[in-house]
Homo-oligomer: 430 residues x 2
């Protein structure tokens, strides 16, 4: 049922009145830092926040054995986080209301900072505010969104209301590497009628999303003294030959974009990232080993296995064609995302988000295609529920001086609160 | 004075009788291992060996401040070894003999092993013997030679003789990275009328030798989320662009070989080794940094500074031409060898080595051009004394399954003993 103009106004006002607290808490959460595997402290903070609000949270580990049985789970590696997933629960007083249940999901994990001296103020976790922008690793992607989920509920409570249906609050690790945090919530059986994830989309709704694979190619060479270099096989050169072959594949996949709905207009939808490289031990020895870590994306409709098989066959073929690699072939190791893309079907949930958006911003909610991994694929592909990815304006996500726009956070928080109010319905707190 | 056939025969016989002990001790020294910076234990062993033979050794550190003042010293880095140089001294009883003084030099340091599972028996320090070959890292390059120096003197002692002139025994670190071990002996004032270094030359005499430079190129990129990859600048790609530019220089220098005596006949005398690479932190971020360690060689007659300036200007020019690097130029760091090549002039010492060689092998001592760094350049360029580099047959130096030929070690030890006998003259031990 549409919200009355008075209710809309009072929800927006409540978000505004709480907003200083919300930004202060967002700063605190940024200052926690917590690289992959180091999210336990900040998850404890989220657990305590959920607890103090009465969401009776659960805290549980991502179980490798259970996850490994699901084809869409990310592959474990020694770097996989052991931090817990934190999930809070709101139970309505009134069973059997007309409201629909909802998951508000966000990820706690962040990506590395790169050399700290490349940050303007030398501190990736300063959480300083400069004008309309809040700086810091993870501020945009996506701790401001994670916090907004909680403060949207706070705003409703401020006017004496709460959702009239079940609502689940999820703070998950591993969104940046495997998707196993949200996958673990799915495998634990937590589901709802819709999900909302305030990733930094620039206040647009994600209509379509790529899948993502992570892998490492390991090359062994035959080292000799550099003075006899032409007799040896450089593992670094061999590894770079494989880069070339995989870049050909990248080009080929990008050339298919015209046939892929929601991707036709993009300049370069599929990115193969030559992300991490390490090789060689000694300046005067021909390098004996080299590993390269890659990330590549795939269109919705391509299965992870299809692309993985193609990559393996390219690496094998390049090895066969190389005089040295033919006897010591390069190896492909799947060490993270093994995720497929999706297209968001139209839904009642989307219509309600449209209305909420209009009530805050006027105009129409724009949509966008995301060329980056999103946990929404788990809700869409495996829960088969609408998964709305919509969040604040950010800049330099994964880069130096990552920043999120403060006014945008407020608008997004208001939209989330209005969405909850209409999708879940409201009941009095007292 | 030429040695009598009887003396020649008895010296060869003494080497042969000691040879089992010599190989056992060579195995022991290989089994010590001791990568760069970890040579203290094996140097202590050499110190004790010299002491027990009455060579009253000195043990001293390579002093960074003193070394840095010499233009031919290698550049210090955090990896520079702090192991001591060990130098033993033989003083003749008879002052004023006709004999000439001699330095027997060898290096104790070894290069990394690479992945151990690429070694046939999985242990780079096994020192196993298979047929005529003794296996192990450093066996050829050059602990068997270092040990041969000492056992050549042992053989003379076995027949009651010792050099009739001063002789210096040097066991030095850092030959594989800076040359600062032997440079420290030079700066300490130890010199002689000639030097002999039994590097693994395949029983040939080194006539000409390249110089070597070590350097690192550090690149910083501008990371963004991989989904916006085309907006970021990959430090790995930028670093690889510099590889290309430096490989052009390598090609150019090799094309000049026709004009360089002793290098005309070589297929590829100058090698630029793209030796070590490291970059990037995260599979889904465009890499923000990449460092590559290089080794390059130079012809005799080119100064280290000339080539270094050329490399710096190429890196600068490549940076200027790159949209991102132009505002964040790549940096060149000199972190090891800064050494020039040499040509060995004919000398009386060489004639005597020729005779010694003939007395063991018949035939004529072959000569060779070394495309690898040699500490001999310090004796040749700065002490201005003949520096004879001549040692055993080895295979896979710096590679997996490095091995040295045992019969070759015996021949070389005999040649060294005969050389000492004629160059230094002999006197009775008792």
């Amino acid at each position: 049922m549409p919200l009355s103009p008075e209710l809309v106004a009072s929800i927006k006002e409540a978000v505004h009145e709480n907003f200083n607290n919300q930004i202060q808490f967002t700063q605190k959460i940024i200052q926690y830092g917590g690289q992959r595997g180091e999210e336990a402290a900040v998850q404890e903070e989220m657990f305590n926040q959920y607890t103090s609000r009465g969401y009776a949270p659960k805290k549980f580990e991502m179980d490798e054995e259970v996850l490994s049985k699901h084809g869409g789970a990310g592959k474990f590696s020694p770097q996989h986080s052991r931090a817990p997933v934190v999930v809070g629960f709101h139970e309505p007083k009134s069973a059997g209301s007309a409201g629909k249940s909802l998951i508000l999901n966000g990820h706690i994990d962040i990506v590395p900072t790169g050399p700290e001296d490349m940050w303007e103020d030398g501190n990736p976790y300063s959480a300083v505010i400069d004008g309309d922008w809040l700086y810091g690793r993870g501020g945009g992607d996506m701790r401001s969104g994670l916090v907004a989920n909680m403060f949207a509920l706070d705003a409703l409570r401020k006017i004496g209301k709460q959702p009239a249906s079940k609502l689940i609050l999820e703070s998950v690790p591993e969104e940046e590497s495997t998707g196993n945090g949200t996958m673990a919530t799915h495998l634990a059986g937590f589901t709802a009628d819709a999900a909302l994830i305030p990733e930094p989309t620039g206040e647009a709704l994600v209509r379509a999303n790529v899948g993502v694979l992570w892998f490492q190619v390991e090359v062994r060479g035959y080292p000799v003294h550099v003075s006899r270099m032409t007799e040896g096989s450089s593992a670094i050169s061999a590894a770079w030959k494989i880069v070339g072959a995989l870049q050909e594949l990248e080009k080929e996949i990008n050339e298919q974009k015209g046939k892929i709905p929601h991707f036709e207009h993009m300049k370069h939808p599929i990115n193969l990232n030559v992300a991490k490289i390490k090789g060689g031990d000694w300046a005067s020895s021909v390098p004996a080993w080299c590993t390269i870590d890659y990330r590549v994306s795939l269109y919705p409709g391509t299965t992870a296995k299809e692309l993985a098989d193609k990559i393996e066959s390219i690496v094998q073929k390049t090895s066969e064609d190389d005089p040295f690699l033919s006897s010591s072939p390069a190896k492909v190791i799947w060490n993270g995302f093994f995720a497929e893309g999706f297209v968001l079907p139209p839904s009642e949930a989307e219509n309600i988000l449209q209305t909420a958006y209009h009530n805050v911003n006027e105009g129409t909610l724009p949509d966008t295609t995301s060329p980056a991994y999103l946990d929404a694929r788990i809700f869409t592909l495996y829960d088969k529920i609408p998964a709305l990815v919509y969040g604040p304006l950010s800049e330099s996500v994964h880069g130096f001086d990552e920043r999120v726009n403060i006014k945008s956070i407020e608008r997004v928080t208001a939209v989330i609160a209005l969405f909850i109010a209409e999708w879940c319905g409201l009941e009095d707190v007292a």
